[in-house]
């Protein structure tokens, strides 16, 4: 019996856009699709068909995984493994930090107890960063980390690492997330009030524009909001709104928008709804190009679209039958490649259970290589361009995103939307609806609410173990660090940071000096805490 329920989610995309059984030319008309305006050719405005003229013929996407465990020594071993087993000209080594490091706390802070080395590697000072990258040629890797609240300190670490190793800054490439706004709705590693975080993040971007030609100092995330429960439309809409907020701030400081544009990246998710995701990546580029031209008065030749990084969708991965996640991750990589993204980081199949085991990490890398070299999907640029369904979906997503962006304006702009909790309300509502759809069995999740086996423990993945001695060892190491450095030099550097904050100057140069003097993350962030205050939630 054909369904008549307009809310039947099996007849909707993952983001609840209703779909039909068959698409044809009339659907393009209905979606307002204009090929001259909306499509164009690859590498040309409005970039719907991708950023590269020959698609992946111009070079495959960057392949990465997210990794960082326990101690600097163990992370170093894992990074060496990744470098030895991938064959890109530059491997991205994404350093996953533990929570104390991400929130600017030293291992001996009382709030760090129980958290050290859990969700990533514990990093206290430049000494740890030197250990993590020991023996790894810096001109062959891209130094990356998901640092946001302390993105400025992470930038100083990577710059400091290059300086200590004597590698020319033109050979050191950094890739920072450094997107604090989404922490207030998506991820929660904020430290100071939102406006102060924006200032520090822009200090990094401004410094990189002036001094570090190959760095990507900011990767604005729709992904975290999607993980928090948002739809694809909200993912794109908030990513664009946040990026515009940062760009406006840079322009206000006197940075030329044309210098800033190539330095920004988008960090998005790839979900299981393959064709909606393809349409989403195409819509993201198209809306960005059109809005940027309007907003900053640029012509089609001047507009560029930030490169798009994706991380596969951890929230789709299940603890039940975890090997099924290999299939989900593969679909998500395929969607990303058909959507023409620039960088793919794969989750590991055990992500719902723990940080990745080595076996899971290996499959995550191989998944990308199989899509790259066996699937044929990378051979043609924008292979779905012209598809009735995908073009109509691209146009519908673009229109829905524009409405959301208008709505953000009506609530007073993006900073207001965040500070008032408006964004968070939208995301939570979407997450709640999503969860109820799964529990009612409307949204099928194989192995969870459909096709469930009694013996789902058969594929249980053992959680990665963390050395019980690690915490005490890290506390001892920070004490040793403090004994072995010049405390007068550290105090002088910290006072310089404070002076820069109060003088309204860019704080990154003084932060780099402090890092080089082996000031700890906690000491540096305390200077900012004293100046800005701490944010304790809305």
């Amino acid at each position: 019996v054909p369904t008549t329920n307009p809310f039947d989610i099996n007849r909707m995309t993952s983001s609840r856009l209703p779909t039909k059984d068959v698409y044809g030319p009339a659907d393009l008309v209905e979606a307002g699709f204009d090929p001259d305006r909306d499509l164009g050719t690859p590498a040309r405005y409005p970039f719907t068909r991708g950023r590269k003229e020959h698609g992946y013929g111009d070079g495959l996407w960057d392949m990465a995984t997210y990794s960082g465990i326990s101690s600097p020594t163990e992370t170093n071993a894992r990074f060496r493994y990744i470098v030895a087993n991938t064959h890109s000209a530059r491997n991205t080594l994404a350093m996953a930090l533990d929570l104390p490091s991400q929130i600017g706390l030293d291992p001996d802070h009382p709030m760090s107890r129980g958290e050290i080395g859990r969700s990533g590697v514990s990093v206290t000072s430049l000494r740890d960063v030197e250990a993590i990258y020991d023996g790894i040629p810096l001109d062959r890797v891209r130094l990356a980390t998901v640092a946001n609240g302390m993105g400025n300190v992470a930038a100083a670490w990577f710059i400091g690492l290059g300086l200590k190793r004597g590698v020319p800054m033109t050979d050191v490439v950094g890739n920072l997330q450094n997107d604090p706004l989404k922490e207030f709705t998506g991820r929660g590693t904020y430290i100071y009030p939102a406006a102060d975080h924006v200032r520090l993040a822009l200090d990094v971007v401004e410094h990189c524009i002036e001094h570090l030609p190959h760095w990507k100092p900011m990767s604005v995330c729709g992904s975290q909001l999607r993980w928090g429960g948002a739809t694809a439309i909200e993912e794109v809409g908030f990513a664009i709104a946040h990026t515009e907020g940062y760009l406006d701030g840079l322009v206000e400081r006197g940075v030329n928008v044309l210098d800033a544009l190539p330095r920004l990246e988008f960090h998005m998710v790839a979900d299981n709804d393959v064709l909606e995701e393809v349409a989403k990546f195409r819509a993201l580029r198209r809306i960005w190009a059109a809005r940027t031209a309007r907003r900053y008065g640029l012509n089609a030749e001047q507009v560029s679209v930030p490169s798009v990084q994706i991380y596969t969708a951890g929230y789709t991965l299940t603890a039940q039958d975890p090997l099924n996640n290999v299939v989900r991750i593969a679909m998500q990589v395929m969607a990303s490649v058909m959507g023409g993204v620039d960088y793919v980081a794969t989750s590991s199949y055990d992500e719902a259970i723990s940080t990745p085991t080595l076996q899971a990490l290996r499959v995550a890398l191989h998944t990308q290589q199989i899509v790259a070299f066996e699937s044929g999907l990378a051979r043609v640029a924008d292979p779905l361009g012209g598809s009735y369904y995908v073009e109509s979906l691209t146009s519908r997503i673009a229109a829905a995103v524009e409405s959301l962006l208008d709505e953000i304006e009506t609530v007073g702009g993006i900073m207001k939307a965040i500070e008032s909790g408006w964004t968070n309300g939208i995301i939570t509502e979407a997450a709640y609806t999503f969860q109820r759809e799964i529990e009612r069995g409307e949204r099928v999740v194989v192995g969870v609410n459909r096709f469930v086996h009694d013996d789902d423990g058969a594929h249980d993945v053992p959680p990665q173990s963390v050395d019980p001695q690690l915490e005490e060892r890290r506390i001892a190491e920070v004490a040793e660090l403090r004994r072995g450095r010049s405390s007068r030099e550290v105090s002088r550097c910290l006072a310089d940071i404070s002076a820069a904050v109060r003088a309204g100057k860019n704080t990154l140069p003084s932060t780099i000096d402090a890092v080089l003097a082996y000031a700890t993350i906690g000491e540096i962030c305390d200077v900012f805490r004293e100046n800005f205050g701490e944010y304790r939630g809305a």
Binding site: R118, G188, T318, T428, R436, P463
Partner: protein, 135 residues
Amino acid sequence: MSQLPDDRKIRCLIAKVGLDGHQRGVQIIARAWRDAGFEVIYLGLRNTPEEFARVAVDEGVDVAGVSILSGSHIYLTRATRQAMDAAGAADVPLIVGGVIPRVEVDDVLAAGAARVLGPGSTLEGAVAAVHEVTR
């Protein structure tokens, strides 16, 4: 169903303890508990076990819930349970949710959790857990 024998609504405290900032789970559980008719106090992110325990006592709650996705669930469960016992909330059951591997559920129970809501838990299960521990 949402009432105690003395006709009072069940009062629940829910929060993130520790440093983990992933709110999706905790917010939808808070919402589900409200929809089930409980009074819910949501404390937000980054509470210390001591802060959490103090609110549990001050607000006279019947049930307490914490969500932990950072991997430090055994340590934080024990610390929260001990802080609650010390603060005078020894009789308030503690429900612990988050990315808790099945092989560690017994450890979390031994650390002081009355119920564990691991990956794959349902909203319905979260509501049922409150009824079970207040019965």
